[in-house]
Symmetry: C2
Subunit: 440 residues, 2 copies
């Protein structure tokens, strides 16, 4: 007789003959909520406010074609060959110019390592630093892909509170003190200081100084992840934290958002000793990053007015940000959200009685998708928030999407009201209703 | 006062403020001997028989250009965008045709995952399966890049003896029994069954059956790494081990050697449950493999007579293999080496009194480079062997290189003779012989 109720462990063992062979870390490798959404939201009738795909259609293809032609005629054999683990010197020279726009002017091409997108850099840094049980500090909320990667090395992500100016220094100090009292090893502070994914918040210059000061005092490395810094809509972001400290910051950049993610070219700027280890980690992971793609990016940067192209992208995303903001004002005025100064995302704060994760299937039925806030927390929070992305859909689609979303939310609220009318009063009477916390 | 004799640990700490922050696994991440050689041997006057660079000059650039043009005109926006973690379906369909040439005809495109070269696949499989202290079985000798990657997850590589037909089944059984008696966890058997890097040996069909039989009985997964299978010179390699067993083999392929390594496109064919985890591992590591490069490869495979191009490569490498073999016969007839039936490498067996690692600096001075055998063993063996690669240099350069190598070796032997005749006795008596400094 089959026993009733086979646990997931047992089920896995039955389906997978290699179930007992996996490493302990593999248990922490789970499908992200964003990933599951990619499939659902890819049907054309669904307005997806869920993904983080840049609007590459705004890039004139001729720019890539011309970069490719020069590459083939001038560096063909080299572009088709293996390269060094650090990346080709020519792209690293050009990256200095890109980073200068973020305020980093003291870097050397020698201290840059190119990677397969900045996700790869996150993975390599995690591999170099994280032992099981180590702690990574991160904003609350924080980038889902980074949380997943840190966890895949069996580290714990501990969130630090933020306010409208970014990480809260007092919360940071208190968290460090608490964790150290518990005997935990804090390996680094991971921060997306510019136009954060997902919160859209940018850390002020004063805060950057304060956070840096704390990390120096406590000897905590900073991992500054900056894919969105140049995509500002109103005014430039403050200079990168790395521009204020060369020894205590690992800085990550990417061509995914200012050029194209299909090329998978990102980079790390790191202190010497760490840079050396990163090169070894690249070699161990992929031998060398694609010379082909590095040359395409290099020739693109050499030949095109790439700053003008970034200005182009800014215009596209600014218009979409505005469409999103206006639609939210019109359709969901009872809630709060961030009006992003740059980047790809708006962070919407719902009321405590709404659960963005539970509501998602209904939303998809109504042909709109978003990312539940839970994806961006390692500690189970985020049920009353959602990330809305405005990078890919047109302004019209954004308006349609937000209107549909409002329908879903209002439908849910009506349902709750009916429900309250009968059974829920009891709950309010017992004082369990919490007011919605402010995000900004 | 500075203390005399600062240990490497202490030195590291002084130079690197983050020395105490690294993960335990980072200690195992060391520069490979092959890597150090890349720098030395890249001067044009040095004949390098050291690297593993394919001769991409044999690829008509027009084939890449035309694939690129079709990609941009038909899939431009998609090629510049993020893709799925598993890789684009179109390339996975084409990969079925490539694998069919290796005897794998029962695969589904659903069970393929594309990666950033097959090195990336090695890294992902290692990450999924290897806990610290686990064992990977491998041929003796085995691919340096795989050994390094397995070690970077703190696993131990245990070599199994080979003969002219590949892995020795008795040695395999005995090694498994011994390790299990010691309580060790064997996670998989890593094999380069076709035109092995570095030994050049190909496992016979009978051996494939025997090895598979043992691994099935002992419940040991096989990781079959096959970048060279289609580059045979005389007769095709036997069908892939994967063609004999779909459930117990993870199969790795690569476009690096049959097309171009600069594109960094490789792939894994894995049993369902493992494939699922591999996709998550890709996402955690790089979000998605480059759609740009996957489309270039797809259009190349669709438009070109790619089998004819492989035939072209075979011709180039066959001629070089012959040049190497003839030069060895002429200049170093006193030693033994494999005459490769395919692939990129010859494995030269020196006499016991010669140390290939110690001899390398002298060889480089005499303008020839090779890879010492020690690179291909995790257990310190390989001092009396060397890997000679014939893939990149022209036949003329190969002849020059082998002539120079013979000079170095014969010079070394003469020195040893003199040494033996006159001084060695004394030194042996006092025991003061210092080995020359190691190149690493
Ligand atoms: C904050 C952040 N970091 C890193 C990445 C990874 O980007 P890529 O690997 O394409 O450079 C993303 C992508 O969305 C991101 O939002
Ligand atoms: C046996 C073997 N496996 C894997 C690789 C990695 O190749 P790639 O990552 O370029 O596919 C190599 C490269 O030399 C190799 O010889």
């Amino acid at each position: 007789m089959t026993p009733i109720g086979v646990g997931p462990q047992q089920a896995g063992r039955n389906l997978d003959p290699w179930f007992d062979s996996y490493a302990a870390r593999t248990a922490g490798l789970s499908a992200s909520e964003v990933r599951a959404l990619f499939a659902v939201a890819s049907r054309p009738e669904v307005v997806s406010l869920a993904g983080g795909m840049p609007f590459v259609e705004a890039l004139p293809e001729e720019l890539i074609e011309s970069a490719f032609r020069t590459m083939m005629s001038e560096h063909g054999a080299e572009a088709l060959q293996y390269g060094g683990g650090q990346g080709i010197p020519q792209i690293r020279e050009m990256i200095l110019e890109v980073m200068a726009l973020e305020g980093i002017t003291d870097a050397s091409a020698d201290d840059i390592v190119t990677t397969t997108g900045s996700q790869h850099a996150l993975d390599l840094v995690a591999k170099l630093f994280l032992d099981p049980g180590d702690v990574v500090l991160a904003e609350s909320p924080s980038y889902v892909g980074a949380i997943g990667t840190f966890r895949s090395y069996q580290a714990d992500v501990v969130h630090v509170d933020i306010d409208a100016d970014g990480l809260d220094p007092d919360a940071l100090s208190a968290t460090i003190t608490r964790l150290r009292a518990e005997g935990r090893h804090i390996k680094f502070l991971y921060t997306v200081a510019n136009f954060n994914n997902p919160s859209a918040i940018t850390m002020s210059l004063e805060r950057r100084r304060q956070i840096l000061e704390i990390c120096r005092r406590e000897h905590i490395l900073i991992l500054e992840d900056n894919p969105y810094g140049l995509l500002y809509f109103d005014e430039p972001a403050p200079p990168a934290i790395r521009s204020l400290d060369a020894d205590g910051v690992i800085y990550l950049g990417s061509f995914s958002k200012i050029l194209s993610p299909g090329l998978r070219v990102g980079y790390v700027l790191a202190p010497h000793a760490i840079r050396e280890k990163l090169i070894l980690a690249v070699e161990s992971s992929i031998l060398s990053p694609s010379t082909f793609n590095q040359w395409v990016v290099t020739e693109y940067l050499r030949q095109s007015d790439w700053q003008e192209q970034i200005e182009e992208y800014r215009g596209v995303y600014r218009e979409r940000r505005d469409a999103m903001d206006e639609a939210l004002r019109e359709h969901l005025p009872q809630f709060t959200w961030t009006k992003p100064g740059g980047g790809f995302f708006t962070w919407l704060q719902l009321s405590e009685d709404l659960d963005s994760k539970q509501m998602l299937p209904r939303a998809v039925t109504e042909l709109v998708a978003y990312t539940p806030g839970t994806a961006f927390f390692a500690d189970g929070r985020g049920h009353h928030e959602m990330r809305l992305s405005f990078c890919f859909p047109t302004p019209d689609r954004i308006r349609t999407g937000v209107r549909r979303l409002a329908n879903v939310i209002n439908g849910e609220l009506e349902l709750l009201d009916t429900f309250r009318g009968t059974t829920r009063r009891t709950i309010a009477d017992t004082g369990v209703v919490t007011p919605p916390p402010n995000i900004n």
